[in-house]
């Protein structure tokens, strides 16, 4: 992890993780634990049962909170970041520093709150994976076959790139590519502000575009996956050890959470491109070389700006 990530975003990530843990996790866990304590008068059993019920509660209701509260707030925050980014040149250096910190705060909020969705999205698949052999008498159909073929942001982004690659007119293709990068270019290899986003890697984009041109469309692969899922579902329904309606209800919850998991990766690091560009802009203003910037701490950068 770079020095810049450690000193700029990591403190906010820890701060939001602690806040989320206490406001959402601990409080709900405590309420359930307290109810069990009133019923059982056993502290250990109350803590354990409270945790189990809390996890089940989160797995059922977290996606609703994510869709109705977290995602709309993230979109508002991203609009703010983009609005500031458009006026980057008009800000004084102290204002730019404030805005970098504000952007980092917004980025950290999104990473933690959207990242929390990992709990139900991984949890449901793990539960399904464990229970599947007990629910179906013949295991020849892998459980994964029932979870494929749903639209998600990954497929959407790859389909857009494929469409750009198929464009024959160079100037139209250039415009489409700019639009693609604006929408989907903030994808990163890892959690580190020092790592360039896809949008900042022209050589990689050029190669990916050439590869997409020769590949089948992601949409066609999605359709094939959808057919495969339908066929698998029909076969599985003949081998169920429980009523089909119950199994279908269960599968639909798992499927929804699997799709949300893929979308989550798209939103989490959406601010990284803008944040990096703000930092690079600031470094240029105060004569810090690009290759040194991310090796410095945020405090060192702020001190250099004040000199």
């Amino acid at each position: 992890m770079s020095q810049m990530e450690k000193t700029l975003r990591l403190p906010y990530l820890i701060d939001f993780a602690v806040k989320l843990f206490f406001t959402r996790a601990i409080s709900t866990w405590f309420i359930f634990g307290f109810i069990f304590w009133l019923l059982l008068h056993n502290v250990f059993a109350s803590v354990v049962l409270g945790l189990v019920v809390f996890l089940v509660w989160e797995m059922f209701f977290l996606s609703v909170w994510y869709e109705k509260t977290v995602l709309p707030q993230h979109i508002i925050r991203m609009d703010d970041i983009k609005q500031f980014f458009r006026k980057l040149n008009s800000y004084s250096t102290p204002n730019l520093i404030d805005q970098v910190e504000e952007t980092v705060k917004k980025s950290a909020w999104s990473i933690i709150y959207i990242g929390y969705m990992a709990l139900p999205s991984w949890g449901w698949e793990i539960v399904f994976k464990i229970l599947y052999p007990f629910l179906v008498s013949n295991k020849s159909i892998p459980y994964q076959n029932l979870l494929i073929g749903f639209h998600n942001k990954t497929i959407e982004a790859d389909q857009k790139l494929w469409e750009v690659s198929q464009e024959k007119d160079f100037s139209t293709q250039k415009k489409q590519l700019e639009h693609y990068l604006e929408e989907y270019g903030s994808r990163v290899d890892d959690l580190d502000i020092a790592l360039p986003t896809l949008r900042e890697r022209p050589k990689a984009i050029e190669s990916l575009l050439a590869l997409s041109k020769l590949s089948p469309s992601p949409k066609s692969r999605l359709e094939s996956a959808e057919i495969k899922r339908g066929q698998s579902m029909k076969q599985v329904e003949k081998q169920l050890r429980l009523p089909a309606s119950v199994f279908n209800w269960f599968v639909q919850i798992v499927q929804k959470n699997v799709a949300l998991r893929e979308d989550r990766r798209y939103y989490e690091f959406q601010a990284d491109y803008y944040l990096r560009q703000m930092l690079l802009h600031l470094a240029k203003r105060i004569n810090i070389p690009e290759d040194k910037l991310f090796e410095m701490s945020w405090k060192e950068v702020k001190n250099a700006a004040q000199r």
């Binding site: 994964q144 790859d158 290899d189 986003t197 050589k203 990689a204 190669s207 590949s215 992601p218 094939s224």
Partner: protein, 110 residues
């Protein structure tokens, strides 16, 4: 040579291995080649979509590589330690994503 990992996405494919450690080094990659790497991330999905098969050093059955490869119907094996060193660029390999096996095709024929 036979390498065992975790089955990540069902199916079997034979193709030319391309060891890719960075997205900036994918110039030689052709559609249908086998992507051999340490791990994948969301920025890699257009490359994964073009791959005939995927082999990674790290990850589990719920890793990014496993989830994307099953979605695209690409055979994949994950968690083979040092696979990017054991497999050479241009080597023809068979990826069995159902059993979690990666084999050197030339070696098996001889």
């Amino acid at each position: 040579m036979q390498l065992r990992g975790r089955p990540a996405s069902h199916g079997e494919v034979t193709g030319t291995a391309r060891v890719i450690l960075s997205l900036d080094d994918i110039g030689t990659f052709k559609p249908g080649d086998i992507l051999v790497t340490i791990a994948t991330s969301p920025a890699w999905t257009p490359l994964m979509h073009a791959a005939g098969g995927i082999v990674t050093e790290t990850g589990g059955t719920l890793s990014h590589a496993a989830i994307v490869s099953r979605e695209y119907g690409i055979p994949a094996v994950v968690a083979i330690p040092d696979v990017t060193k054991k497999i050479k660029n241009g080597q023809v390999i068979r990826v069995n994503g159902t059993q979690g096996l990666v084999e050197d095709v030339i070696w098996n024929k001889s």
